[in-house]
Structures are given as structure tokens and as C-alpha cells.
């Protein structure tokens, strides 16, 4: 499939495929956005390269998704911006269902802190070497990961202890 990449993005993809030829799995476009999927083992090197050499200095968001497949179930997408080239690129990694674990990118973009916590809160993907690894929206006492596809829309009754709302009568 031929890609219609803009000039700066073409340069980025070229340099990535040159430097990380073994770790680069695929490059594709969807609805005009460019997605690059890499091996999760090379995440830190690729992110460092993108930030230092290609000008992607701003991490806009980290997106977790549940692919609901038997192998490499969870997907984590890094939404990166380069102000110099006015370009946006999406970096993807897949991880296993059994023990989903990735390196944290907080050393590269400190702002990834809360976004990684959000991915963990919703999908249970763990991030190694994260400075403050906790859930973010839901309390620590909660045992489930609500955005996984098997979690029911109505929730699980009794999964969370709620404060008593009826006044004490005695």
C-alpha cells in the first residue's frame, strides 16, 4: 500500500526505518493520520530518538485500547506533536494480556505521568519506572479495569464500598 505522507513525516518514517529496521513493524495511514507500530522492547529508544532527533517535543495524549484478541491484547498509542514541522504522529505498541507491562516514558516527557496512570486505571497496563504509579480516577480499593471489554456496562455490584447515606437513628 502506498502512503501519501507529508514531507516532514516522510523524513521521520525514513529515518525510523533506517535506524530501527528490526523494531519497526508497520507504518500506515487511516483517515489522514499516520500510525507507526513498533516492538514494545524498543519503546524508550524510539521515543528518545523521536524527541531528540525529529522534534516531537510535545506528548499530547496516551491512548489505551483493548483489541480483544487472544494474543497481544492491549494497545497503547502515543500521540506526539512536532511544532517545528507542524506534524502529528501516532506511535503504537502492543502488549500481552497475561502481564501487560511497558517502560514508562516519564523520563522523556514528564507529562506522561498522569496519562500513563489513566491507561493503567482503565486497562491494567503497568508502566515500569513510573515515579508515582497509582490509579487516577478510581480508588485503589477497586479491583477491576473498567474499560476492558469484558467489564459490564452496569458495573459489578458490591465491587466498591460506598459511604453510608442513611442517617444513624440510634
Amino acid at each position: 500500500m502506498s502512503l501519501e505522507l507529508s514531507e516532514p513525516l516522510q523524513k521521520v518514517v525514513d529515518s525510523l526505518s533506517e535506524k530501527f529496521s528490526d523494531q519497526l513493524i508497520e507504518v500506515y495511514q487511516s483517515s489522514g493520520d499516520t500510525f507507526v507500530r513498533i516492538e514494545s522492547s524498543a519503546l524508550i529508544e524510539v521515543c528518545t530518538f523521536l524527541k531528540n532527533e525529529c522534534g516531537f517535543i510535545y506528548l499530547s495524549d496516551i491512548i489505551g485500547t483493548d483489541r480483544y484478541t487472544s494474543d497481544e491484547r492491549f494497545e497503547v498509542i502515543y500521540n506526539l506533536l512536532s511544532f517545528k514541522e507542524q506534524a502529528r504522529i501516532f506511535l503504537k505498541v502492543w502488549c500481552d494480556e497475561e502481564n501487560p507491562e511497558l517502560e514508562s516514558v516519564t523520563k522523556i516527557w514528564p507529562g506522561a505521568n498522569w496519562n500513563e496512570r489513566e491507561v493503567f486505571d482503565m486497562y491494567g497496563v503497568r508502566f515500569k519506572n513510573h515515579p508515582d504509579f497509582r490509579r487516577i480516577f478510581l480508588p485503589e480499593d477497586f479491583d477491576y479495569f473498567p474499560l476492558r471489554k469484558e467489564f459490564p456496562l452496569l458495573g459489578i455490584p458490591g465491587s466498591i464500598e460506598l459511604p453510608n447515606t442513611t442517617p444513624d437513628t440510634d
Partner: protein, 430 residues
């Protein structure tokens, strides 16, 4: 003070694990921890819980502050008190059905949220939007920006101590509510945008009151400037308070006016123009100081730029349809629904299945909401429901900034800094 000491003194009654982890995290924030001492409260160290039910936290934000006398040593934020799981809800709704939920995310500027979702769906499903609808959306978005900034201005000045000013800005917000009522039929949660256009055209009455508003509002803005621009009290409360350094701003992911107050002219309307923002003339105001005062000036200038945009839109707006005329992509007009069988069937089909983007398609589209970059990421599995819908909320990013800029400030400035960052918890908590 050791964690065990805090635990024994606080004695949480529920969410025990959560409270424990939060206090642990506060203890771990910086490397050095000194023992806390009892004695005179002005020199003693203490831990102060602020919120989630504190009026100055703009919703349900909870801050855990460790104080040394009046100085904040370090702070941790606890969010999630308004978590409603909208992303999970979105996976079980058609795209159009989900739109009213977006009104309730950033409830201070519902119009921008509607437009953000619709533009993302239009991008993934390749829907063409008529020219006139683009201009109506831009007018709505800019009015929402003014409305949101007016609320920020009123509450921020109130946080700094001037109560009556709040009533002034709310007088103007009331006019915007009336305009929204004329445009969309709702004052607050407008739900006016539709996939493929907008719900209905602007009436003559609506156009007239928008024109009246754009003519009168600059005068009001001038009054605000007169009151605040050289006000000694306002300056003392805001200058060099809550400083976000330019070199840190990008790293910790600030967005919107908070980022622009540090000198980066990052605005989605210029960065990747959507709707017809490339055809109107406007400036992106920036400042270099990065303090609360800089944020004030950036937002004030943004309001007058918004007025310029609305005036240009009213001049340039062509005549024509306001929603795409394709029964597979958008709702048919009410005339068709009431007077033709096909229209009725199409309306039913849109409600039942809705628009179906191609299988495996992915798209991200962002708009510049009043708080910053508001993006929707959608993954489709070919059905009428999104497989995954992710909201990139600007308030979430800016709250993380707040956690970093509060360290070292005075405790009395906390509310002013929260006001200056202007988070909306409905959006940050999803």
C-alpha cells in the same frame, strides 16, 4: 511525620487503600522528608486536605497540601470524584446518541465539545459538511469561548477577593445564554451540532442578537480592562504567582491559555485549521511570563479575538443548506421526515444504527476548546458504535500542571492559582 503517624491521625473510614496510597504518594513526592513538629501553627508543619467539596476548587477537585507554616512544601491532587465513565458509555451508543454526553463534559462551553465530537466522526467517516454549517459552528464555538472565559474571569477575580465583579461577567454570560437559546433551543447544554452539519439554521432573531452582542461586548471588555489592568490589588495577588517556566511547560504537557501564557503560540485553529478558521483573520495572543497575570492577559485578548472572528463569520457566511444531504451520513431535515416515507425511514435508520465508519478505521481530530486542545480519538469496528473513543481533555493536562506549579507557593494563593489554570472537573474526570 511518618506514614504510620499520618494514618493513625487521619483514620479514614472508607476507601482505605486509596487514602493510604495517596498519603504514601505525598510522602514520596520529593526525596527529602523532614519530621513534622507540633507547636505554633505558623511555624509547624501540617497536612491540609482541601476539597473535594470546597467552593474555590471549581467542582470536586481534592488537594492534599503539606504546609510549612504558610508555605506549601508539596502537593498532590486527587481527581476522579466526577468520573462517570463516558468513554465506556460511548462504546455502547451510536455517535449521535453520544453527543449530548459531551455537553456534560466541559459544561462551561458545551458547543465546542459538540463540534469536537462531530468533526472527529466526520473525519473518520469522510462526511462533507456544507459551507454554511462551518460558519455557524465557528460562531457557536467562539461564543462558547467567550462564555467560558467570562466564567473564569468572574470566579478568578472573586477568588482574588472582588465579589461584585462576578455579577458583571455573569450579566454578559446571561446574554450568551439567550443567544444559545435562540440558536439551539437550549440555554446551557446546547447539543446543536450534528454529524454532517448543525441541527438548524440561524434564525433572523438569532443573527440580530449575535450582532447586537458583538457590537456591545467590546465596550464591556474595555470596562473590565479599566478595572483590572492597572489595579494594584489585582496585580499583587497575581503577578509572579503560580509561575510555569517556559522550559517546563511543554514537558509537563500544558495546553491552551496556560501554554500560551508561557510563550508558545500553540493553537489548533492555526496549527491544523478545522472548519473555516483558515479563512478568517485572527491573532493568537501569547505572553512570556507564565504567571497568573499572563494567563489573565492571554484570555482577555482571546475574548476580543473571538469577537473579531464572529464578526467576520457573520459577514462571510454564505447561504445554503446546514446539513449534508446524504441519508447514510446525516439525519434528514424535519420537513422530509414529516412529509415523505423515505425521510421517515432514513430518520429511523439513523437513530437505530447511525453512521457506520469503515471497519478498522482510526482517526484523531482536535479542536481548540476554551481550555486548550480538545481531541477525540475514535477506532471503528464497522458498526454504528465506536470500538474505542478516547477524549483528550485539556483540563486533565492542565491539572497535572497545577500539581507541579503549586509547590513553594503560599497557601493563600492556592485558590487564585486554581482559578488561573481554570480546570473543569467534568472534563478532567471523564
Amino acid at each position: 511525620m511518618k506514614l504510620s503517624d499520618i494514618q493513625s491521625k487521619v483514620e479514614s473510614t472508607f476507601f482505605k487503600e486509596h487514602q493510604k496510597a495517596l498519603y504514601q504518594s505525598l510522602e514520596d513526592k520529593h526525596t527529602t522528608i523532614e519530621a513534622m513538629d507540633d507547636g505554633d501553627p505558623l511555624t509547624a508543619k501540617m497536612i491540609l486536605n482541601m476539597g473535594p467539596q470546597h467552593p474555590a476548587t471549581h467542582g470536586v477537585l481534592r488537594l492534599v497540601l503539606q504546609l510549612d507554616g504558610e508555605t506549601i512544601e508539596k502537593v498532590k491532587l486527587d481527581i476522579g470524584y466526577l468520573h462517570r465513565g463516558v468513554e465506556k458509555i460511548a462504546e455502547n451508543k451510536t455517535y449521535q446518541e453520544f453527543m449530548p454526553y459531551t455537553d456534560r463534559m466541559d459544561y462551561l462551553s458545551p458547543y465546542s465539545n459538540n463540534v469536537a465530537l462531530c468533526t472527529a466522526v466526520e473525519k473518520i467517516a469522510s462526511v462533507e459538511v456544507p459551507e454554511r454549517a462551518h460558519y455557524i459552528r465557528m460562531i457557536g464555538c467562539e461564543l462558547a469561548r467567550i462564555s467560558s472565559h467570562l466564567l473564569w474571569l468572574g470566579t478568578m477575580v472573586m477568588d482574588a477577593g472582588a465579589i461584585s465583579f462576578f455579577i458583571w461577567t455573569f450579566k454578559e454570560r446571561e446574554k450568551i445564554y439567550d443567544i444559545m437559546d435562540q440558536i439551539a433551543g437550549h440555554r446551557f447544554t446546547v447539543s446543536h451540532a450534528r454529524v454532517g452539519g448543525v441541527a438548524n439554521d440561524l434564525t433572523d432573531d438569532a443573527t440580530a442578537i449575535i450582532k447586537e452582542f458583538t457590537a456591545n461586548f467590546p465596550k464591556e471588555l474595555k470596562d473590565y480592562h479599566k478595572l483590572l489592568d492597572r489595579n494594584r490589588l489585582f496585580f499583587d495577588r497575581n503577578e509572579a504567582v503560580g509561575v510555569l517556566k517556559t522550559e517546563d511547560a511543554l514537558g509537563i504537557g500544558a495546553t491552551g491559555p496556560v501554554l500560551r501564557a508561557c510563550g508558545y503560540a500553540y493553537d489548533i485553529r492555526k496549527f491544523s485549521p478545522y472548519a473555516r478558521y483558515n479563512e478568517v483573520d485572527f491573532e493568537v495572543p501569547t505572553r512570556l511570563e507564565g504567571d497568573n497575570l499572563a494567563r489573565y492577559f492571554v484570555r482577555m485578548e482571546e475574548m476580543s479575538e473571538s469577537i473579531r472572528i464572529i464578526q467576520q463569520c457573520l459577514d462571510k457566511m454564505p447561504k445554503g443548506p446546514v446539513r449534508t444531504d446524504n441519508a447514510k451520513q446525516a439525519y434528514p431535515s424535519k420537513d422530509e421526515v414529516y412529509y415523505s416515507m423515505e425521510g421517515m425511514i432514513h430518520d429511523f435508520m439513523m437513530t437505530d444504527t447511525g453512521i457506520c465508519p469503515p471497519e478498522g478505521a482510526e482517526a484523531y481530530h482536535a479542536v481548540e476548546s476554551p481550555k486548550g486542545e480538545l481531541g477525540y480519538f475514535i477506532q471503528s469496528d464497522g458498526t454504528g458504535h465506536p470500538w474505542r473513543l478516547k477524549v483528550n481533555a485539556p483540563s486533565f493536562a492542565n491539572l497535572q500542571v497545577l500539581e507541579n506549579i503549586l509547590d513553594g507557593e503560599m497557601v493563600a494563593d492556592t485558590v487564585v492559582i486554581i482559578g488561573g489554570v481554570d480546570p473543569v472537573m467534568g472534563e478532567a474526570d471523564k
